[in-house]
Symmetry: C2
Subunit: 368 residues, 2 copies
């Protein structure tokens, strides 16, 4: 609840911990208005907006204070105020009520997850489209890592005289691959032997767990197995570089400066950067990073909203939204949260279906 005590609070922090209830109400009005109109908000508008019952003069006085405290700025004298990053931050933390999706949006989400089908990549791609549609922001879907997904199959397939591909199928339906080099003289038979050894060693265990296959008699087989295992180990972490970006066209009219659009698009093209951005924010326990709160210079005029994609209780993936700092935070937060959850359920159900009864246990036992 934003405005809990109406009574005169004594010895409040001079800074951003607490804010005069009236100031808070004014700040909220400014932020809401500005999010809607993208125009500087004047005292008049605030005074006539609901929840405020003082005159514009009083509002002005309070606005001066809010500006001094860093919540608002004036683009120039004799203009209305617009929120600073700090202002948005306070709004998000203290003022905005949880925010719910409209019924039509809720319906859209439900219908999406009922109808969606196909391979995982397609689903994730379309999920990012859904998020963009819901929020009018660019969206990012960070697929779950594979640490805890059970291995359903491992195979080493020869591609050339010195080249082979390790193909791993996971219980959630993901297929990962990695090429390895071979010694000159590895036969198909040896590859098959290696495959079957890997298969028994890894089967039903999470990809992240260490594996320790018994030695075979054949050293060339063992060498292949070893290489394949290290390739699989790389897969655990290295697959993260695939993200699904959607709705980048929304950025075109989100910002007035073309330069901003270009630089934000440029960031979205660098998948590695996007991944670490989302992970950073999520790890710091935030669900939204405003302006410069994340370290990325060229996203200074952006806000990032993230939500985990929890699969069976673990936070393994993430969805993110990228928009201007004056985005509709309540709605974006709600959308990200809901879609993240639903996506997690969806992925989880697939996984559970993969290994009906053993799945839940296998992960717990698998702790190396």
């Amino acid at each position: 609840m934003p405005d809990h005590h109406e009574r005169p609070d004594h010895h409040e922090h001079p800074d951003h911990r607490e804010l005069d209830p009236r100031k808070a109400a004014i700040l909220e009005a400014v932020v809401s208005e500005y999010i809607g109109t993208a125009q500087p908000v004047g005292s008049q508008h605030v005074a006539t907006s609901s929840g405020i019952s003082v005159s514009s003069a009083t509002v002005r006085a309070e606005m001066v204070a809010l500006e001094r405290e860093g919540y608002l700025v004036q683009p120039h004298t004799s203009a209305g105020r617009i929120p600073t990053d700090k202002g948005y931050r306070f709004f998000v933390d203290q003022l905005a009520e949880p925010g719910v999706l409209g019924p039509s949006q809720r319906h859209e989400v439900s219908r999406f997850f009922e109808q969606v089908h196909g391979e995982m990549e397609e689903m994730l791609e379309r999920t990012s489209g859904l998020l963009s549609d819901l929020t009018s922001c660019a969206s990012v879907v960070l697929p779950p890592g594979h640490e805890s997904a059970a291995v359903r199959s491992v195979q080493v397939v020869g591609l050339g005289p010195r080249l082979a591909l390790v193909v791993v199928v996971l219980a959630d339906g993901a297929v990962e691959k990695r090429s390895i080099e071979l010694d000159d003289d590895v036969t198909e038979v040896a590859l098959a032997a290696a495959s079957s050894r890997l298969q028994t060693a890894a089967r039903s265990r999470p990809l992240g767990a260490g594996m320790d296959p018994v030695q075979s008699g054949d050293p060339s087989v063992d060498r292949v197995v070893a290489r394949a295992l290290s390739a699989m180990a790389e897969l655990v972490s290295a697959d993260h570089d695939r993200v699904f970006v959607g709705g980048s066209s929304r950025l075109a009219d989100a910002f007035e400066a073309v330069d901003t659009v270009r630089s934000v698009l440029a960031i979205l093209e660098q998948q590695l950067v996007v991944v670490s951005l989302l992970r950073d924010v999520l790890e710091r326990g935030l669900s939204v990073a405003i302006g410069t709160e994340h370290g990325y210079e060229s996203l200074a005029s952006c806000a990032v909203v993230v939500a985990p994609v929890p699969v069976d209780g673990q936070e393994v993936g993430a969805v993110g939204l990228l928009g201007p700092t004056r985005m509709n935070y309540p709605q974006a937060l709600a959308a990200a949260k809901v879609v993240g959850e639903r996506l997690g359920q969806r992925l989880g159900s697939g996984e559970r279906a993969g290994t009906p009864a053993t799945q839940g246990r296998s992960r717990r036992n698998a702790g190396r």
Copy 2:
């Protein structure tokens, strides 16, 4: 009517087949200049540009003719001329010399293809980045279809009680997958049997070829095999929906109108549209489509440059560039051509390595 009676030239086509050499030179100067500056080009500039040795008054007269014939337009009276789509078309077809990459760019391409490594997806992704860097356009890489790629491995992996995944590894290192439904009671053993049957039937044959595995005794195995085969048949054509788009941020300053940027970005987000656009253009034997030459309304201010990615002589993939109609065509064409070829070689070498001697033959024999 055009000005044929001003010149004693005998019954030339009144239209765009051939153009007075001087007119051609003027048109070329206008196009080149406009490509460089994005500003309407006046007769003065043309007159002083190399290759023209007449006065600006004469240039003006010719420009009037060129405008009447539809090669140039004036944004407004008393402004210079800018080329029409028809003007660009003539420039591309008749005027522009083949166009070569600068030595530094040539070097960049070589270094890229020496250094590039990793799985195919990553390579294609990075290739599209390379193309963008070379041309300052948005770029698209359409990976080769798999019709003619030899199958190296087929496997059916159970994911759930009624769900399995068909995983196909191809000689070029690509891995495709598709989920199929199962009857209730299919055992792991049956899946393994189906896998081995598929393996023998498909192995070393192109994915596109029909396959006709012998019946096993077990009807449930046969049912799995049949489903897997139809899934594989779908893979042949259905995988095309994955394209690699790069450099979309270049579009931000390619157009002056934000609306244009948005709508072009929106097109690029629809992978299916991009695919059919490229295929259309390529099929019509064009290497560049200017303005409205392709049917897409919202790309009317764009030009599309495509080049095939020939793998072992067949045109199986494509690379494309998307930019404003005033793009640097010679350079774009050269870049697309070179990168397409090099990419094809690269993909081909991988494939050939996969099936050293049989590859060439296996395709021919495979005609069912």
